[in-house]
């Protein structure tokens, strides 16, 4: 079981709380986590990565265990702590505006 923390606006869009839980086959990757997230919450399709190219939207980033994985290959295996649910996978929006 993998825990995912979404930014506020995506929580309201998906109508979920602070954290969502997903079943993802190990070893998990950014791609497999996002695939599972969008399968469970299809309204999130296009909001984190582009519909067509599946590239990360420019002002969205991914953090795991204190590391920024945004620029890594989406197929890079995630740490065990993400795979076993002891640490969450963070989807974050860039800080901007006033």
């Amino acid at each position: 079981m993998i825990r995912v923390v979404l930014p506020h606006h995506l929580r309201t869009l998906a109508r979920v709380g602070d954290e969502v839980q997903l079943e993802v086959k190990n070893p998990a990757s950014v791609r497999s986590v996002l695939d599972a997230l969008e399968a469970k919450y299809p309204m999130l399709q296009g909001t984190i990565r582009d519909h067509g190219t599946l590239k990360r939207r420019p002002m969205v980033r991914f953090f795991v265990c204190g590391e920024d994985l945004s620029l890594e290959s989406p197929d890079t295996p995630l740490p065990d702590a993400i795979g076993n649910g002891s640490e969450p996978f963070f989807v974050m929006g860039a800080i901007a505006g006033g």
Binding site: V16, M43, Q45, G46, T47, R57, M59
Partner: protein
């Protein structure tokens, strides 16, 4: 409308109305006229409702709190069907729909009011998907357009600026998007298809973004000719199709823009908004970057009707519901200073189809007012005494129940208003 129905049910509890009396009450109140004002703001949507007197207002919202709501518009064929464009620079484009007059919302393709939680057989989030059509069968190559610095730049979808429901079919709706293109949905907003002949017009490489982006912001459907659609793009100009979107022609003859290399060019004009009266669809009024323009031949030629306006820069323009030659603009000081002249918020009305304008100030702030009124933030109702409405970047929504003679603020402290649309309910 909502308030009156609630009162009916309350009366039934407190005064001992029986069901028949209650139904009779609701039937009578529903036949009374009312208005519903759909307001899109930088931080959510608001719905303002009143009866035909337009004196007391009920405000609901924010809907989609925190999101930019570029535009909301209801179907002329079904007043309970409302489409909304919910956008974010972070998370992209969402289309929302209500089938009950704005009480509840859902993304088309998902079950109304229900989050989908099972992976089997779920509808996909395709209502969010606006993909330029590059298919060999119907599409156009994804070429480039002019960028701010004069170089060529690829088309990139950013957001939906304007939603225009069909005049006849609640499930048919058009979307004007940035970077400029026209999409349509025929399944209630669930899936979208680009009418790509517009973006593929041979002049496309010369289109350039205005300060707000390269947006397709105006869509006018000809009530007398279903094959004819007018659109406008900042900063490309106005275009018309006479074959339902298969081909388009620029309709900018007569426009003169000193800020482009060839002031009389076929394309490149920063059209801010265009208005049409349904009884006279060949007559259009345009607020260009500078200049108020008029055409009497469906855009084949334009002439300036700015007349005695103190400044002819501005964004919105609209037409009285019952007087096709009575038009309204909100003059703004200049393209560098987007606020009213002298800090006085004044609507100008022409009863002569342009050229002769009178200022309307009663009820509007006449000192220290430095708000803007954006292009889609003015609308009219069609009650006997036509109501005029506009919203400001300062968060006020003003209404005039008497064609502009007097004004009052319905609300004063919303987030910056992006769009205002009005429904007349019967």
């Amino acid at each position: 409308m909502l308030i009156r129905v609630i009162r009916g049910s309350e009366l039934s509890k407190t005064n001992g109305f029986d069901h028949e009396q209650e139904h009779d009450y609701e039937r009578r109140t529903r036949t009374m006229s009312g208005v519903r004002v759909l307001v899109g703001t930088r931080k959510g949507a608001f719905i303002l409702t009143s009866d035909g007197k337009r004196e007391k207002w009920e405000v609901s919202g924010p809907h989609f709190a925190g999101w930019e709501m570029y535009h909301l518009k209801a179907s002329p064929a079904d007043p309970n069907r409302i489409y909304a464009s919910q956008t974010s620079g972070w998370f992209g484009q969402i289309i929302q729909r209500s089938d009950d007059g704005g009480k509840t919302w859902f993304q088309p393709g998902l079950s109304p009011g229900e989050p989908t939680t099972t992976p089997e057989g779920m509808p996909k989030g395709e209502s969010n998907k606006f993909a330029y059509d590059v298919s060999p069968e119907t599409g156009q190559p994804l070429t480039t357009h002019m960028w701010y610095d004069g170089t060529q730049h690829p088309w990139e979808f950013k957001r939906v600026w304007h939603l225009e429901p069909s005049l006849a079919d609640p499930n048919h709706v058009y979307a004007g998007v940035e970077d400029a293109a026209l999409f349509e949905s025929k399944d209630g907003g669930q899936s979208w298809r680009e009418l790509s002949a517009l973006r593929g017009h041979p002049t496309g490489a010369h289109w350039a973004p205005g300060a707000g982006g390269m947006c397709l912001h105006t869509i006018l459907l000809d009530p007398k000719n279903p094959q004819r659609i007018f659109i406008a793009i900042s900063a490309a100009g106005a275009f018309r199709t006479d074959d339902g979107g298969k081909s388009w022609k620029p309709i900018n003859r007569g426009l003169h823009s000193q800020y482009i290399p060839d002031p009389n060019a076929e394309v490149g004009h920063c059209v801010h908004h265009i208005a049409m009266h349904p009884a006279r669809p060949n007559v259009l009024f345009m607020q260009k970057h500078w200049d108020i323009m008029r055409t009497d031949d469906a855009g084949d030629s334009w002439r300036e009707v700015s007349g005695n306006l103190p400044t002819d820069f501005g964004f919105p323009i609209d037409i009285h519901a019952h007087e096709p030659d009575t038009i309204y603009v909100v003059p703004i000081k200049s393209d560098s200073e987007h606020f009213p002249l002298e800090g006085k918020l004044r609507v100008y009305r022409s009863r002569t189809g342009g050229n002769e304008w009178e200022e309307l100030t009663k009820g509007l702030p006449q000192k220290d007012c430095y708000v803007n009124v954006l292009r889609d933030a003015m609308s009219v109702d069609s009650l006997d005494s036509c109501g005029i409405y506009f919203g400001t970047t300062g968060g006020q929504v003003y209404a005039s129940p008497d064609g502009g003679d007097t004004w009052d603020a319905i609300v004063r402290d919303l987030p910056a208003v992006l769009s205002v649309e009005v429904q007349t309910l019967e």
